[in-house]
């Protein structure tokens, strides 16, 4: 059991997770942002580590990644910053990023360092199931890290079953087949997709991401899943001045209707 498992055991529904890129907009505010998010009422966090070629991301997160790299963010530095994570933050924390930086760091070493810092899970969009299962699952398990898989409207039922079997905290449902930063698709076919997944009665809770950015979209997502993830909209907020002071209001605006 890690913090994610405890969270999902204790609370059903309306969970709010926030994504942001470490090292953006400033190099050393990773934990300040995390702390502000917890205080504001976020339920768990996804801290992104930047990559030069983020193919699954739209312009907002691409920009934050490039800026973070220009600021000097590296995995080494991130783990240095995370040494104080559990002194300041109690909610579950995931790391999210592309596979190549992890390969260079060493997959086993990465998992060890993440666990030492008190990280609970990892999302690596371009680490496929076959490679995870045959080469890396052991490193995740021995460090009590949850690996989070994505599911899209095109993912087949068989594959969703397989993903459910390999998962041990939650499944990340994409609201559409798109890169990050788009708008929420509320078409009938998407509703049918959520209903189809709900009917499968998976053992893992589902959290919806991509296109969530205000109270209306958050509420919509929570009708079909246990919670939702806000990424690009929050990263945009970080572009503004005095962003730390605005975090409380932002979370409040997602939680409650105007």
């Amino acid at each position: 059991m890690n913090r994610l498992n405890h969270l999902f055991a204790a609370r059903k529904g309306n969970l709010l997770s926030i994504y942001y890129t470490a090292g953006y907009p400033e190099l050393n505010t990773t934990l300040d942002i995390a702390e502000a998010l917890e205080k504001a009422g976020a339920d768990f966090l996804e801290i992104g580590f930047p990559y030069s070629d983020p193919v699954a991301d739209g312009p907002t997160i691409q920009h934050s990644s490039q800026q973070a790299l220009d600021n000097g963010m590296t995995l080494n530095l991130l783990f240095e910053q995370l040494k104080n994570l559990r002194k300041r933050v109690t909610i579950p924390v995931l790391l999210m990023g592309y596979f190549n930086p992890i390969v260079q760091y060493g997959v086993e070493q990465f998992c060890k360092k993440a666990a030492e810092a008190g990280v609970d899970g990892v999302i690596v969009p371009d680490l496929p199931i076959y490679e995870y299962e045959t080469m890396y699952a052991g490193f995740f398990k021995s460090n009590n890290l949850s690996n989070i898989f994505l599911v899209t409207p095109q993912t087949s039922a068989d594959r969703i079953r397989k993903i459910d079997e390999l998962s041990n905290s939650f499944i990340y449902l994409l609201s559409s087949s798109s890169i990050t930063g788009g708008s929420l698709d509320v078409s009938d076919s998407i509703e049918n997709y959520y209903k189809r997944i709900k009917a499968m009665q998976l053992k893992n809770p589902a959290i919806i991401g991509f296109g969530i950015g205000d109270n209306a979209t958050f509420k919509k997502a929570c009708e079909y899943a246990d919670g939702a993830i806000v990424g690009s909209k929050f990263v945009k907020l970080l572009e503004s001045e005095n962003y730390l002071e605005k975090i409380n209001g932002f979370i409040h605006s997602i939680r409650t209707s105007l």
Binding site: Y51, F99, L150, T152, S177
Partner: protein, 393 residues
């Protein structure tokens, strides 16, 4: 094939399909269909006919007499420069458009660096009346303006890639993002033996016509089944893989792959991937790529836009690691000099990419009766500006 791909898409340690879940259905559809489709008699017949009547194949295997005298061996040039659109890229574009049609796709996307693959893709889309969108780095669009116009004349929409370094790798990222957003009706024609499985194998098969023909043609010229050497330039590595393909299992044939050293391997301005790169994941496959200690992809440099790629195809990474092929590199200066020499000795203006392979001739120790095949992957018309500026003509 001893050096071919296994059922999981790997060549030894390299390959695979490291794609986000959003691309999985696209890749899976291709994986399940590509061999079935390309082995259908109807596909083969149309592919062969178009290669013959439209591309102008077989391309000649030309015995280069004056080169042979200069280098003391029998030097043959495989004339891919004589293909329609001016390079080997058309072989793959024809294969993939026929595949896309049979998969019922209505829209084609492609990435391009120098513009040769973009032009080849725009050409086959015109031929088939299919919508075509080509992603090209904003920087490359300025450097290769005539090819941008060519693509537009052929009816393609050219979209500038403005992310990252605004060159080939970023154009590839943008094409992948487009494919994520349009998973059902769009086919992505990747231009080299790179990307997630099955692309490296599929592109290699379409380009293997180069060595299939060369093997027969060498026999007609010399009565010998096999050459001593086969040489080609490598960016992503599609002409080299096509040139090596039918010689891979003939262990006596020495395979020489020539990378672009740019301003020198240690100058900080180079694209010599096997020397400067390390193992990692790029554009969906595990391969060798140029990167920082932190795993960020490094922007390569070569005067030749077609060799200016930070990785190599996974099969090349495998052939390099197990020493089946020898990977070497030549600088901008050496390549341009070799290009000019080819003009003056053989009356052929080669693409600067192909001139890298020719430059390697200077560094070889041939025996008198050695038969050597070099892939002349493209013609130099597109590079005239660069040649003219360099030599002050």
């Amino acid at each position: 094939m001893k050096y071919g791909v296994n059922e999981h898409g790997y060549y030894g340690d390299f390959g695979g399909a490291y794609v986000p879940e959003m691309l999985y259905p696209n890749i899976e559809e291709l994986r399940q269909q590509y061999l079935k489709i390309i082995n259908e008699p109807d596909f083969k017949a149309e592919f062969d006919l178009l290669l013959k009547d439209y591309v102008g194949r077989p391309s000649p295997l030309y015995f280069a007499k004056r080169y042979s005298e200069k280098y003391g061996a029998n030097i043959f040039l495989k004339r891919e420069d004589l293909n329609h659109t001016g390079s080997h890229k058309i072989n793959n574009a024809i294969g993939q458009i026929l595949l896309a049609q049979r998969l019922g796709k209505k829209r084609i996307i492609a990435e391009t660096g120098a513009g040769q693959h973009g032009v080849a893709t725009a050409t086959v889309c015109a031929l088939k009346g299919i919508e075509c969108v080509v992603y090209m780095g904003e920087v490359d669009m300025e450097r290769q303006a005539p090819n941008v116009s060519r693509m537009k004349m052929l009816g393609a929409k050219v979209v500038p890639a403005r992310s990252g370094s605004k060159t080939l790798k970023d154009a590839t990222n943008e094409a992948l993002r487009d494919w994520i957003a349009n998973p059902v009706d769009t086919h992505y024609i990747i231009g080299s033996v790179v990307g997630p499985y099955p692309y490296p194998d599929m592109v290699a098969r379409f380009q293997s016509i180069i060595s299939f023909e060369a093997k027969k043609q060498l026999f007609e010229h010399t009565g010998k089944e096999l050459p001593e050497y086969v040489m080609a330039c490598v960016g992503g590595g599609s002409n080299a893989m096509g040139m090596f393909y039918h010689f891979l299992d003939d262990e006596s044939v020495k395979l020489i792959a020539v990378e672009a050293a740019g301003k020198g391997v240690n100058s900080g301005h180079s694209a010599a991937t096997t020397i400067l790169g390390r193992e990692g994941v790029l554009h969906g496959s595990r391969t060798i790529l140029m990167q920082t200690d932190d795993g960020q992809v490094v922007e390569p440099y070569s005067i030749s836009a077609g060799l200016d790629y930070p990785g190599i195809g996974p099969q090349h990474a495998h052939l390099y690691k197990i020493n089946r092929a020898q990977y070497t590199s030549v600088t901008d200066d050496e390549a341009l000099q070799a290009g000019l020499l080819c003009c003056q000795l053989e009356g052929i203006i080669p693409a600067i990419e192909s001139a890298h392979a020719l430059a390697q001739l200077e560094k070889m120790n041939f025996k008198k009766d050695d038969n050597v095949i070099i892939c002349l992957s493209g013609r130099g018309d597109k590079d005239l500006d660069t040649y003219i500026k360099y030599f002050n003509y």
